[in-house]
């Protein structure tokens, strides 16, 4: 199991990166003193959200703050990200039909009305794609210079008859990704002025719930783990699943779908597409007997055309992720969450 990271006297950027430091912060500060949810999933599980048993189902709740910079990027904007991020977290826990979203916006004095309307239109469109709506919210305005343009916090609720954990893998299970990896993170990095790359990279931000519903309908209890690989990318998600489940994940690198231009940008910048954020993909652990059927179901959905089985679980070296490169093998180091601030 992982070593505990110490929490120093100041909170620095790494504590928001989604990696080990952030987990230590949650364990040692945020979650300390809050009990578990009996019969459900609470803070200590550090899953994508919480699940409260209600009758014969679960009420799933998740919340996320969005501080992506720049707020308008190729393929989306902070509004679309806010909706999709939350819809996807609900879906990852098995709640694929959100009951509604609550949205709180903190806006800097001087923010252009046209930009705000553009963001809100984007959010409405994303809600339509996800078959959901914003049911309540809050608005605050801060003085110019006290906040960088806008921050949006979204909370989502949904019902699930079965909560899909992120720790159910066992040896023999297959790992599936629903499409190409690295798109969002590299698209954001390519637009940030100082990296000066001319590309047509586009974020993959999209709501996954309708696709995941198909996967769950076909796979049922054979879907044993699900995560959306945001901060820290596919590598972080696999590490977390391997660690929580006590298995080793062997990743077949040539099978992992990566767009040519994303691969090229990654090579030029020295950044591995396996470790950057995705905002329209899921990693799913499947029992071998239903794996192919679930793959077909996902590929039948527009967001899942490039889905692929990319790995399997073994018992040797539990908690590790081993990469078959096609030329040899290496251990995939666990990234310290997201290397760049404000990716999502």
């Amino acid at each position: 199991m992982r070593n505990r990271r110490f929490v120093e006297d100041r909170i620095t950027l790494k504590y928001g990166a989604g990696g080990g430091a952030m987990r230590a912060l949650i364990e040692q500060v945020f979650a300390a003193g809050f009990g578990d949810v009996p019969g459900g999933i609470g803070l200590s599980a550090m899953d994508d959200g919480a699940a409260l048993p209600i009758g014969d189902r679960f009420l799933v709740i998740t919340t996320d703050s969005h501080v992506v910079q720049p707020i308008f990027f190729p393929g989306g904007d902070i509004g679309r990200l806010a909706i999709c991020g939350t819809v996807n977290d609900l879906a990852m826990m098995g709640a694929t039909e959100p009951l509604g979203l609550a949205c709180a916006a903190i806006i800097e004095d001087g923010f252009l009305r046209t930009d705000l309307e553009r963001i809100w239109t984007s959010m409405r469109d994303a809600c339509t794609e996800a078959n959901t709506t914003i049911i309540t919210g809050d608005t605050k305005v801060m003085r110019h210079g006290e906040l960088d343009r806008i921050a949006i916090t979204t909370t989502g609720i949904g019902l699930a008859s079965r909560v899909v954990p992120d720790n159910g893998l066992r040896p023999g299970d297959r790992i599936l990704v629903t499409g190409t990896v690295g798109d969002h993170g590299l698209a954001i990095l390519a637009t940030r002025g100082e990296l000066a790359l001319e590309t047509k990279l586009v974020s993959d931000v999209a709501p996954l719930n309708t696709m995941i519903r198909r996967a769950l309908a076909v796979g049922g209890a054979g879907v044993v783990a699900m995560k959306d690989p945001t901060r820290g990318g596919l590598a972080s998600a696999l590490h977390e699943m391997a660690d929580k489940s006590g298995v080793c994940v062997v990743l077949d690198e040539p099978a992992v779908p990566v767009r040519d231009d994303v691969r090229a940008a990654g090579e030029l910048l020295g950044i591995d597409p396996l470790i950057v954020a995705n905002e329209g993909k899921a990693v799913i652990g499947l029992r071998p007997e239903i794996a192919d059927a679930v793959l077909d179901a996902i590929r039948s959905h527009p967001l899942g055309r490039k889905a692929a089985i990319v790995g399997e679980c073994i018992a040797d070296r539990p908690g590790s992720v081993i990469v078959e490169t096609g030329f040899g093998r290496r251990l995939l180091a666990e990234p310290e969450g997201e290397l760049q601030p404000r990716i999502c």
Binding site: A196, E198, A265, E267, G270, I271
Partner: protein, 107 residues
Amino acid sequence: MRSCGGTTDAELPLMCLGVPGRVVSVDGDLAQVDFWGVTKPIRLDVVDAPVAPGDYVLNHVGFAIRRIPAEDIEATLALYDELLAKSAPDDLMAADVRNELDAAGKP
């Protein structure tokens, strides 16, 4: 310029990466070079031969250091194939590769 807080290896210096790319356009000492879908401006101050659109160049920290002639690619592949040809006669894997190469012919 962005502050240093939180920025680590992602700002790699591109020092030793030396990635080859294809020249899209040339303007004096500057070329726009396409690396598999990503275009970067590359300086031509020290490249070893005149460069034209369609050529391939090896890039190092924003400078082209070599124009790679297409025939040299084939020379390298031939070199590797020669190595395989010399390998042990009972090396089944090498035999498979030789057969595959013979069947494939030139690209």
